[in-house]
Amino acid sequence: MNPLYLEVLVVLLGIVLLMAEAFDGASAKRGIVYAGIAGLLGILGATFFIDPAAMNAAAPYARFYSADALAIFLKQFALLSTIVVLVMSLEYAPTVEANMPSERRGAGLGEFYVLPVFACAGLMWMASAVDFVMIFVSLELVTITFYILVSYLRRSEASLESGTKYLVLGALSTGFLVYGITWIYGVTGQFNLAAIAEKLPALDQAAAPALLFGFGLILIALGFKIAAAPFQFWVPDVYQGAPTPVTAFLSVASKAAGFIVLLRVVQTFLVVPALQEKILPLLAVIAGATMIFGNLAALPQSNLKRLLAYSSIGHAGYLLLGIVSIGAPFAGTAVLFYLAAYLLMTLLAFLVMTIVGRATGGDDISDFNGLNQRSPHLAFALLLAMLSLAGIPLTAGFLGKLFIFECAIDQQHWVLVIIGVITVAAGFYYYLKVIRAMYWQQPADPDAPEIEIGPLAKITIALLCALIIWIGVYPAPLLSLLP
């Protein structure tokens, strides 16, 4: 199958769902979600039968669009996280309905279910983008969709406030990105990454400052997207205020796509040794600062969503450490493995949080007090997610960190490895705080009934738990899948 069809199919699915929603009247719109999940699952299956050779390499679009193994992997990643986010949205529907100005049943739900599908198409295009024009347009498709999703709860001050913050800072990073692209174009006369890499070695020294200026601006813009220090300040507020499924989507898919773009852009500029000497130390400083900030700022948090926001900054630091160690032969695989593990454990944590938050009405850590007595299965799932995020052996998160540190040691980034190990230890403290609340604290209302879970959410939680343990114990199948 020609890889170009994948995104077209996703966009078509989104349009069909929107049309169907218009005729659905005042209902709970569950059919929209089921159709969306089924459609995305079908497309996910189709990604395994992609034939990159079906794409004409000489065709003009091959300058914009690449269907290499990395792109296919990220497309599957985006589809999978969108499916889980749709399952989450189903559990989150009562909160959305309660925060809509309209009293009509199902008001605003249809778009809430369909917008992630469009964002997914944008993420998939981002995965394939090998040209700055394509990177810009697909990135904006994702970002503008997220503006709407983050500020979706129109009656909730927190959601609107975080939406406004995301809007201003997201647009600011767009400004930096575009201006950076302009300068790189001015120096090289090219937008295509491969063509830029060809031109770079022949450039004279006088052009170097302009080139570095452009690269620096692009790095700032991508730093915003992946939440690397010192451009991480928007993350806690936006993650806390956004609807929980959207927070999960932001922290998993949007971040992963940002990393793939960063990987492609950095690789382009690393062909010149003179640039390499300047870029890698810069990235190393950013990686160290991100690990330290994310993990230390998470320590005093009492809101679980905010805590996960800071922890996601910390995880971005470990991923950056993998990119800094790009010279190691195993580094690319290690970064992708970490991303896959991060997807599983973060989505699991947010899925449990959505369900518990609906029952308790809040997402402070104290709302999870005594969860083990009320719903032992949910408590176990969250326990597994927390252990994996912290990096306890026999979970996927542990192997992810192990591979990254291995690459860093291979490249002799000793300082970063020491910072990494210390911050992982700090991570144990705040992840265990959640576990302590669930297992050792008394519930606020001991007679509360067990929390209800939808059938789809049940299956998803079970699958995610199984995958975390399976990959943690026996990673070979996943490793063989990675490019």
Partner: protein, 106 residues
């Protein structure tokens, strides 16, 4: 006849004015205008680069000019969504000042 340097200087000024507006002003609408200025600074320098980077046939490089159209389109979409969010915020809070956006704290 203005040179490439002149255009880049003006575009740099536009970018700085926009950035200063975003960082210093406290009204969301003014901040949004600053953001648009930053995008237009990029447009100006792209067109200048395209005009001065003449290709083998003596024509300007149209790739950059096409990107300008993409930027204009994307900026329009961003403004449509952005203003809608600001209007929704104003309806709920009766304010468009960033100091009032302080509901979330540690």
């Amino acid at each position: 006849m203005p040179t490439l340097g002149d255009y880049l200087l003006v575009s740099g000024l536009l970018f700085s004015i926009g950035l200063a507006g975003v960082l210093l002003r406290r009204n969301l609408l003014i901040i949004f205008m600053g953001l648009e200025l930053m995008l237009n600074a990029a447009n100006l320098s792209l067109v200048a680069f395209a005009r001065h980077g003449v290709t083998a046939f003596g024509l300007p490089d149209y790739n950059a000019q096409v990107l300008v159209f993409f930027i204009i389109t994307v900026a329009a979409a961003e403004v449509a969504v952005g203003l809608a969010i600001i209007v929704a915020l104003y309806r709920l809070r009766q304010t468009t000042h960033v100091e009032d956006l302080n509901r979330m704290k540690f």
